[in-house]
């Protein structure tokens, strides 16, 4: 579609109207670009200012003497609750939670999508429908039972620990969160792979079957090598969602050393003791935002495709 100028307008001294139109359009677009950039800009400049400059200066002004101290302090010294060792530990907590959760849920999604499209059986649509609906439930409706189960597993873990010397990860908040994110993530990953494999030529699978290839051989040799784009989309989608999660994190690892980044950030910002160090808060927020922002900058196209695939089903 193009900018549409009516014949009538073109006739009545068109060029001026057209130029004004363009100026208005570009002006509006620039204005909205400012609207979207403003909070990030403010956050960024504030994180490089001294407290003195924040209290006496203008929010929008560039730092007069940029300092990296707030970042160092946020990373290594700031207080999260009563522990004052910075947010670095929580950053690693998030990594330790995100990596296994993303890998497991993506792999399961790929297998599920493969079965649901290439090995259809009666009731496959119902199975998929039930899994798909699970993506949309408000997690509040499963929050409490999951807390109860994780609590029991934790107590069982202690018993195991006493009996065998290892708890097999039961009761470990990070393991719990990995489990929770896999459970409530497979709906989306299955959806992604199912829609992708739906368009994948079934003839290839059929031919391989005739040649005697097994279920897993077909998956490994034919499906996987052709799934790169959807893997990238799914991994990015899952990474962003799990990294950014707050509800599960605060419900199942809301206190103590195992807090993920989002919960730690919220605690840093809402700590009411002492002087509020806005520059450190902003630096902490930037650190929490960096991984997903980085992914967005490096692979924005796939990020958008993931969001779209999650929104528009076929």
């Amino acid at each position: 579609m193009s900018a549409v100028t009516t014949p009538a307008r073109q006739a009545s001294g068109g060029v001026n109207v057209k130029v004004i139109n363009r100026i208005v359009i570009y002006g509006l677009l620039a204005l909205f670009a400012l609207f979207y950039l403003m909070p990030l800009f403010v956050m960024l400049v504030t994180s490089f200012k001294t407290m003195d400059e924040i209290q006496n200066g203008n929010m929008l002004a560039l730092p007069r003497a940029p300092t990296f101290d707030p970042w160092l302090k946020a990373w290594g010294e700031t207080c999260v609750g009563l522990t004052c060792a910075g947010i670095k530990g929580y950053f690693w907590n998030s990594i330790k939670m995100v990596v296994p959760a993303v890998l497991i849920s993506t792999m399961l999604g790929a297998l599920n999508g493969y079965v649901l499209t290439k090995w259809r059986f009666r009731g496959a649509t119902l199975v998929f429908g039930l899994m798909l609906f699970a993506c949309f439930i408000p997690f509040q409706s499963v929050l409490l039972p999951m807390a109860t189960i994780l609590g029991s597993l934790g107590r069982f873990g202690v018993t195991l620990q006493n009996a065998t010397g290892t708890s097999f990860g039961l009761g470990n908040p990070t393991v719990n969160l990995v489990f929770v994110h896999v459970v409530y993530g497979i709906g989306f990953t299955t959806l992604f792979f199912r829609n992708y494999y739906e368009a994948f030529p079934t003839e290839l699978v059929k031919a391989a079957q005739v040649d005697g290839a097994s279920f897993f051989q077909i998956f490994r040799r034919i499906m996987l090598p052709n799934s790169m784009p959807i893997f990238v989309v799914t991994v990015i989608y899952q990474f962003t969602n799990i990294w950014n999660d707050f509800l599960f994190a605060s419900a199942y690892a809301g206190t103590g050393d195992a807090m993920p980044m989002t919960v730690a950030l919220n605690n840093v910002v809402n700590t009411s003791t002492g002087v509020v160090e806005y520059n450190v808060n902003m630096a902490a927020a930037m650190i929490a935002a960096l991984p997903t922002l980085l992914v967005y900058v490096l692979a924005g196209r796939y990020f958008v495709r993931g969001l779209m695939a999650g929104a528009v089903k076929g």
């Binding site: 409530y184 950030l265 919220n266």
Partner: protein
């Protein structure tokens, strides 16, 4: 997909029929899918039933499994603004109405508007699009922290405009119990509207140029063209965008926590915040569960008809 099915039928007689191995081979796809399906049944549907059950008990700090009827629901709905203290549940519901309506309406309007502007053969589209969209990559917590700072009367926008000489400017919504929910709308729209723009833009790019040309030849003005032809063609996108936004709105929890810490006296609560507070902090498990059930019902009413129409076997 019927092709696979027929080929399997053809292949079956060639295999030794009764052997365990071939049975296993046939069942393998289902065995692979089974764990995921079982997990979904237990941890989604089973847990939902569990929550529903709890909502009919008198669970307080710990779950109790004695059914005591619909007391929790009666408490939720019988507790009004006139009681003392006034109902946090009605506050949450009212906030949900205000937030849900404004958030969805503004995101749709702004998203469509920006998409149409961007679709006018704009130089620099490749720069602008990512700028509009990046907030979607941030967590609600980061968004909340950023806007909390930006809207703080003593440090943010108000202070800045005072310094620039507009000393009568007053903007303290974030600290005002009657307006705090609107700040949640602002931050929410900031985060999601770029994504809605991308959805509409994809839709616009999919429209057949011939239709546009024909309308232009017939003498339609730009406004008429969009009003009568383009926007009706975008109907499916409106539906998808609405579903996405409604679903995001009902699940919103983190944004309220990070931006307002619940607002003065819980005045910024949404039902999700109500549920969390009552279940985990105020030891009213049954009431919390009842609120979760009501949230779920709302989502079901929106999502199920949509999923049903999407998944129905399309005639080929």
């Amino acid at each position: 997909m019927s092709t696979v099915a027929t080929s399997q039928i053809k292949l079956t007689p060639e295999r030794p029929r009764a052997s365990v191995r071939s049975h296993l081979q046939d069942a393998l796809p289902k065995i692979v899918l089974a764990p995921s399906f079982a997990i979904t049944i237990v941890f989604v549907y089973g847990f939902i039933l569990w929550t529903v059950y709890l909502s009919f008990t008198n669970s307080k700090t710990f779950p109790s499994y004695v059914i005591t009827g619909s007391r929790a629901y009666q408490r939720l709905w019988g507790w009004t603004f006139d009681t003392d203290p006034p109902s946090s549940w009605y506050t949450s519901i009212t906030n949900m109405g205000i937030f849900g309506f404004l958030y969805i309406a503004i995101c749709l309007a702004l998203g469509l508007f920006l998409a149409i502007l961007l679709d006018q053969k704009i130089r620099g589209e490749g720069v602008l699009r990512p700028i509009y969209l990046y907030p979607m990559a941030l967590s609600f917590i980061v968004t909340g922290v950023a806007w909390k700072w930006f809207l703080d009367p003593g440090l943010g926008l108000e202070q800045t405009l005072h310094q620039w000489g507009w000393t009568s400017f007053h903007f303290d919504w974030i600290k005002n119990k009657d307006f705090v929910i609107y700040t949640v709308v602002i931050a929410g729209v900031w985060q999601a509207s770029g994504f809605i723009m991308a959805m509409f833009l994809a839709g616009l790019r999919g429209i057949d140029g011939e239709i546009m040309k024909a309308a232009q030849i017939d003498g339609a003005t730009t406004f008429q063209l969009y009003r009568r032809i383009v926007i009706p063609l975008l109907r499916p996108i409106f539906l998808s965008a609405f579903i996405v936004l409604a679903h995001l709105a009902i699940k919103s929890y983190d944004l309220v926590v990070a931006l307002t810490s619940g607002g003065p006296g819980g005045s910024a609560w949404l039902p999700s915040n109500f549920m969390y507070e009552y279940t985990f902090k105020r030891n009213e498990m049954a009431v919390g569960s009842a609120s979760a059930v009501i949230m779920l019902m709302t989502i079901v009413a929106i999502i199920v008809p949509y999923l049903y129409s999407e998944l129905r076997e399309k005639p080929r």
